[in-house]
């Protein structure tokens, strides 16, 4: 934002200063009356002159399963960073439903508010057991004083049991997470997102390094989640994308190159050019 614009922003007469307004809260219901749950509009991010995202526009519908593909450096991970609050965009806006402005929230608020994120490399708390991993992620009061004095209640424990079944780790619940196989860690991390009861799941390369059987199970898991949650999957594995995708977005150089069904996208001459480098 230019400094003149910033100055004008301060002197706007139609609203009071931000700091006298109550802190933005997530307790309002996410408003998805018009379909999309996530509005990413005109978002640009640059790092030292390199445009990681360039005027990106994308809308994710409530309950949708969306796959995002694109060559390396297309801005897939940056897009996730921006949505989850890790990176602040230079311009543009991101709305969660119609009323929640994600750019005004910090990472932990966004996570509590219902947007879960799985990292590219499976990241679980290795020193803790599978159950404790889920316990930590479970939606509950996450303030310092509360966690010092309170354990989970029965309802929250039931939810953990349910998710354990969903991700197929019921028998391993006491095992140290560090001792799990690579695929199991990926599932545990997805489980950690699920116990947060998110509306939107951002899943970065869920099947990287998995065996064929594990890939199948993961595909099954992710498709079963769509409907109840909106799922955004970033993946390189085209066969996997084909097996789960209903709608695919292709990113290239920080903006959307093509969007549509897998067949449409694969026959798009621009996409072919980017991928095959004609």
């Amino acid at each position: 934002m230019k400094s003149t614009e910033q100055l004008r922003e301060i002197w706007r007469r139609d609203q009071v200063f931000d700091f006298v307004q109550p802190p933005p809260a997530f307790d309002t219901v996410v408003d998805t009356k018009h379909g999309p749950i996530l509005y990413v509009e005109n978002v640009s991010v640059s790092f030292d002159g390199f445009k990681a995202l360039n005027n990106l526009n994308m809308y994710i519908d409530d309950g949708e399963l969306r796959c995002i593909i694109g060559p390396n450096g297309a801005g897939k991970t940056t897009m996730m960073d921006v949505i989850t609050g890790k990176t602040k965009p230079d311009t543009g806006s991101i709305w969660f439903g119609q009323r929640i402005d994600l750019l005004k929230r910090s990472e932990h608020q966004i996570a509590r508010g219902g947007i879960g994120r799985k990292f590219q490399k499976p990241t679980v708390f290795e020193a803790l057991s599978v159950f404790e991993n889920l316990e930590l992620a479970t939606a509950s009061n996450k303030d310092v004083w509360y966690t010092l004095r309170n354990d989970l209640n029965g309802e929250q424990r039931d939810r953990i049991d349910e998710v354990l079944r969903q991700i197929g780790l019921t028998e391993h619940y006491q095992q140290e997470a560090g001792a799990l196989s690579h695929g199991q860690k990926q599932w545990l991390e997805i489980g950690m997102l699920l116990v947060q009861n998110p509306r939107v799941l951002l899943v970065d390369e869920p099947v990287a390094g998995m065996t064929g059987e594990e890939v199948e199970k993961t595909a099954e898991l992710l498709t079963s989640l769509a409907g109840r949650h909106s799922v955004i999957v970033v993946e390189h594995d085209m066969a996997f994308v084909r097996s789960i995708a209903r709608k695919v977005t292709v990113l290239h150089q920080g903006s959307v190159l093509a969007e549509g069904s897998m067949d449409q996208v694969q026959n798009d001459p621009r996409v072919i050019e980017v991928y095959l480098g004609e």
Binding site: T84, K86, S106, E107, H108, A111, R112, G116, R117, F119, T123, V124, F125, E126, A127, L128, E132, E135, L136, A137, A139, K142, D143, V144, T147, L148, R149, N150, D151, L152, E189, M192, Q196
Partner: protein, 364 residues
């Protein structure tokens, strides 16, 4: 019962705390009740030494809590320890009254030398024990709060955090060396007479202070144990192992780090406050960065990430220090350095980890 719950799954801790309790009962009895000729008599020197070690153990506990559990390496915990010590020192100075060398009813000797007319504002109130103790907790706690807030909010971690904590304690050392600061400059605070009306040179007072240190250590241990076994403790371990995962699970990582850091600083301050009446002096040398590094060596040697490991480390290294500085003072620093290198290379889990490994093998 709460204490039972806290110690049930912590057998090492039970043993170490049991030993501390035993020392706290047996040593004063053997010191006070037996005549010096008796073979079981414990000398005054030993009582003082043990009291000192108990304070160091509490200090090590505070370092372990923040380093072993949250993964925040603070190389400036000596600052909080020393500030706590100064708080107690100021109380003890005010107790001297007009018995100083210059006999001034209100001013300390060093203030008379500086030609000061009246007591500076920050010395007010320190004649009251409760106020001094409140300050012992509040001043280091507040410093940790402000310092930690700035550091954690900007996401300063790892070696950068370690360096700025070193800078903090070094800056405080330079400041306290100045006479104009009003803390006795180079010489610090010394020549204490009595605490709560008990003469500091009396045998019973010294034994009492040792028991108080043991009690503080036990209570501090249980408090730390309460934290690390709670859900908060598990959040803290997760922050250590995967900070961004914790953040994206909806935890405000900065707050967790900050409050743990403040609590740890207060523990260190209590250790300092108990240390000062037992050694009879506090001076800016205690702020020296080297001291803070030594604390980290205690914890590393004992075994970080287990609370009782910190106690084991503090006792072992300090016993070795006493031993070596008596027999060959010039070698001690070399021994300390090589100890740190050896522990880092060959015993990443410290003495406690080594013992666990040996015992584990014995079982099979």
């Amino acid at each position: 019962m709460l204490i039972q719950r806290l110690l049930l799954s912590d057998r090492g801790g039970m043993w170490v705390l049991g030993l501390v309790a035993l020392l706290a009962i047996a040593v004063p009895v053997l010191n006070l009740a037996l005549p010096p000729e008796s073979p079981f008599y414990v000398s005054n020197f030993t009582v003082g030494l043990l009291g000192k070690f108990l304070c160091f153990a509490l200090l090590a506990l505070s370092v372990d809590l923040i380093w072993g559990y949250a993964g925040i390496l603070s190389l400036g915990h000596g600052a909080f320890f020393t500030l706590g010590g100064y708080g107690m020192g100021m109380y003890l100075m005010r107790q001297i009254g007009d018995r100083g060398v210059y006999g001034h009813p209100e001013l300390m000797d060093f203030m008379v030398v500086l030609n000061w007319e009246s007591l500076p504002w920050y010395w007010q109130g320190f004649d009251m024990f409760w106020f001094a103790m409140l300050m012992v907790l509040l001043v280091p706690g507040l410093l940790a709060l402000v310092f930690g807030w700035l550091a954690f909010r900007s996401r300063v971690t790892g070696v950068y955090f370690a360096i700025i904590t070193q800078a903090l304690t070094y800056a405080l050392m330079l400041a306290f060396f100045r006479n104009e600061m009003g803390f006795g400059g180079n010489n610090g605070l010394n020549d204490f007479k009595e605490i709560l009306g008990f003469s500091l040179s009396a045998k019973s007072t010294r034994a009492g202070l040792m028991v108080a240190s043991a009690l503080a250590l036990i209570i501090g241990y249980l408090a730390c144990r309460y934290i690390v076994t709670s859900r908060m403790g598990r959040v803290i371990v997760s922050i250590r192992d995967a900070e961004s995962r914790t953040r994206f699970s909806g935890y405000k990582v900065e707050s967790y780090k900050l409050w743990l850091f403040v609590f740890s600083a207060m523990l260190a301050a209590v250790a300092g406050a108990l240390y000062v009446p037992q050694v009879g002096i506090i001076n800016p040398g205690e702020f020296s960065p080297l001291n803070s590094i030594e604390m980290v060596v205690w914890v590393a040697t004992g075994g970080r990430g287990t609370l009782f490991g910190a106690l084991v480390g503090a006792f072992t290294v300090n016993y070795a220090k006493t031993f070596f500085t008596t027999f060959s003072p010039e070698t001690w620093l070399f021994i300390l350095g090589s100890l740190f290198v050896l522990v880092t290379l060959f015993m990443p889990k410290g003495l406690v980890g080594l013992a666990a490994r040996l015992l584990g093998k014995g079982d099979k």
